[in-house]
Amino acid sequence: MTIAAAASAFPPHEYDQRVILSALQRHWGPKVDNPIFLERLQARVGVDKRHLALPIEEYNDLKTWGRANNHWIDVAQEIGETALCRALTRAGVAPSDLDALFFVSITGISCPSIDAKLVNRMGLPLHLKRTPIFGLGCVAGAVGLSRAADYVRAFPDQVAAVLAVELCSLTLQQEDISIANIISSGLFGDGAAAVLVTGAERNGGGPEILATRSVLFPNSEHVLGWDISEKGFRMVLARELPEIVQEKLGPVVDAFLAEHDLTRADLGSWILHTGGPRVLEATAGALGLSEQDIAASWDCLRREGNLSSASVLVVLEEVMLKRRPSPGTYGLLAAMGPGFSAELVLLRW
């Protein structure tokens, strides 16, 4: 099983972090106890610019979750189609060759799902096996990759696609001045990424997927997720998250690698979910990684913000296109999400 291609797509509305932060300051103004906090945030989240699903001035008019979700349905199709087309082109695979599609998002919902709408828009095969996933949050891009790998393991002559579309800006809780919401308003961006996974009998061209592992950390339901209501999706983000990552991730990665007779020292490439600065630092700390080891994640965070499930796939694209390890290098792709959970994918370039 190999990763044949990865491609991202972003909405056309790109803003400097300073523009977004001043808009938030104007919006929240005196409601935030300490306005300096917003400025400090700007420096600390490690984000230079972000793409937004809509022009920035349109967000003031999003009075209801229904309107925001309707925009999600439209924009998710547009950038989802672009990302999937690019990945198909890069892999030299025709849309009619696609056998399975895992669509993941945690920022909007639709029925029929976006993958179904893309069958109509893109002329995908009518026998395409569609799996629309909601609920895995930031870990869903990595999980989609693992499940696509399972799929082509069953059907080694076939091709499966993972498509992640996250329009985090459309979930912004405009009335919520909790720290979690203020952080997320500074950190999360909008974008899509598609990855094609080909079975062993197809010529993939990218890194081989050697193994995958899902992990749930028991009794940590409350540290990350959505509080869901008619107001939309309100962020649940516990302060202890970086500590949990720091404490739990190392042993899980080591056990996974040991099953394949590897240790961390054998890995030459790290494709990590961008999270935010504190989670990235905790991840690096837990795994004993240098700044250089996770430079691709820092770069993607700076360029796009945290794209939830799409982030790790954008980092994968970056590594495939610009930082490709030499053949034979082992790599680990990893993301974390609500549950609290992690997904690990062992690669060989």
Binding site: S110, K117, R130, G137, S214
Partner: protein, 349 residues
């Protein structure tokens, strides 16, 4: 690959249709143009009793979608656990045997998802592979069996669980007196069902899964689905659904069976989604089925109403536990859903 066990779980609040329909009549009262329409409906939907997630009187207190969805999160865990425990015990498996779980629902959402919460509640393996699906609607139970079959094709020594929980009553749009909503308020019920799919290397005496097929009908996005907003999930249900089924379904069934060297007359057990009377009649007529071929579906419809994605799994449970076909009998499990689409699963007892 075999179906090693199936079990359902229904909430304790069970009501006769003659209690539910007058309650709806009282609630809507003069807002419904033609009150006689509702009475005629009572006779026509083919439902005698339904189970509800909450005691009837509590529905009047559900003023927001957030409240309804919070109930969904609670009860989905309770019923989901019960159904999954039932299926495990019927199959003679323990929770530690599960390699993957596919959770489906179209009536509520959660992050962390219900499957993640069940790991904590039921002590499922922390490395279980979780696939929470939202967006496939009524077809999701059948589609999840197909995806579980794909999974154990890749891992023939493993067991995958399908868990569907649908609490349709919690999506009731109390202010919507459209015909689609009045029909759905009379037709849909609440319940859960779990099915275990075992790989070829596992012992099981359930029916074998021989093949699966997903089918998509282009240009029919608008005939079924949810209109999603801060008010929750409003049903989209076109009068054309039976027509779409009549036009497309027989040729899809025939070409699927033909690929397996079979024809309709070789099928001795029809395990069909209950839908509603119009859909069951259209399906029976389109497939030219003998009298009583769909009796089990009609019976489930009468007892529980349409349980969306869980319905076809209840029909399967009924076949396995009470109407078990002779060994060697071919069965076709099928459901339809938004897209518009269908999923076909060929079984052999």
């Amino acid at each position: 690959m075999t179906i090693a066990g199936a079990a359902s779980a229904l909430p304790p609040h069970k009501y006769d249709q003659r209690v539910l329909i007058p309650a709806l009549q009282r609630h809507w009262g003069a807002k419904v143009d033609n009150p006689a329409f509702m009475e005629r409906l009572q006779a026509r939907v083919g439902v005698e009793t339904r189970h509800l997630a909450l005691p009837m009187e509590q529905y009047y207190g559900l003023n927001t979608w957030g409240q309804a969805n919070n109930h969904w999160i609670e009860i989905a865990q309770q019923l989901g656990q019960k159904a999954l425990c039932g299926a495990l015990s019927r199959a003679g498996f323990s929770t530690s045997d599960l390699g993957a779980i596919i959770f489906t629902s179209i009536t509520g959402i959660a992050a962390p998802s219900i499957d993640a919460r069940l790991i904590n509640r039921m002590h499922l393996p922390v490395n279980i592979k979780r696939i929470p699906i939202f967006g496939l609607g009524c077809v999701a139970g059948a589609a999840a069996i197909s995806r579980a079959a794909d999974y154990v094709l890749a891992y023939p020594d493993q067991v995958a669980a399908v868990l569907s929980v649908e609490l349709c009553s919690l999506t009731l749009q109390q202010d919507d007196t459209s015909i689609a909503n009045i029909i759905s308020s009379s037709l849909f019920g609440d319940g859960a069902a779990a099915v275990l799919v075992a790989g070829a290397e596992r012992e099981s005496n359930g029916p074998e899964i021989l093949a699966t097929r997903s089918v998509f009908y282009p240009g029919t996005e608008n005939v079924m689905g949810w209109d999603i907003s801060e008010k929750g999930f409003r049903i989209v249900l076109s009068r054309d659904v039976p027509k779409v089924i009549s036009e497309h379904f027989p040729s899809d069934v025939d070409s699927f069976l033909d690929d397996q060297g079979l024809s309709r007359s070789d099928i001795g057990a029809w395990v069909l989604h209950t839908g509603g009377p119009a859909i069951l009649e259209a399906t029976a007529a389109a497939l030219d089925l003998p009298d009583h071929a769909l009796d089990v579906s009609w019976e489930c419809l009468r007892r529980t109403g349409n349980l969306s994605s869980a319905s076809v799994l209840l029909v399967l449970e009924e076949f396995i536990t009470k109407k078990r076909p002779d060994a060697g009998t071919y069965g076709l499990l099928a459901a339809m859903g938004p897209g518009f689409c269908a999923e076909l699963v060929l079984l052999r007892w």
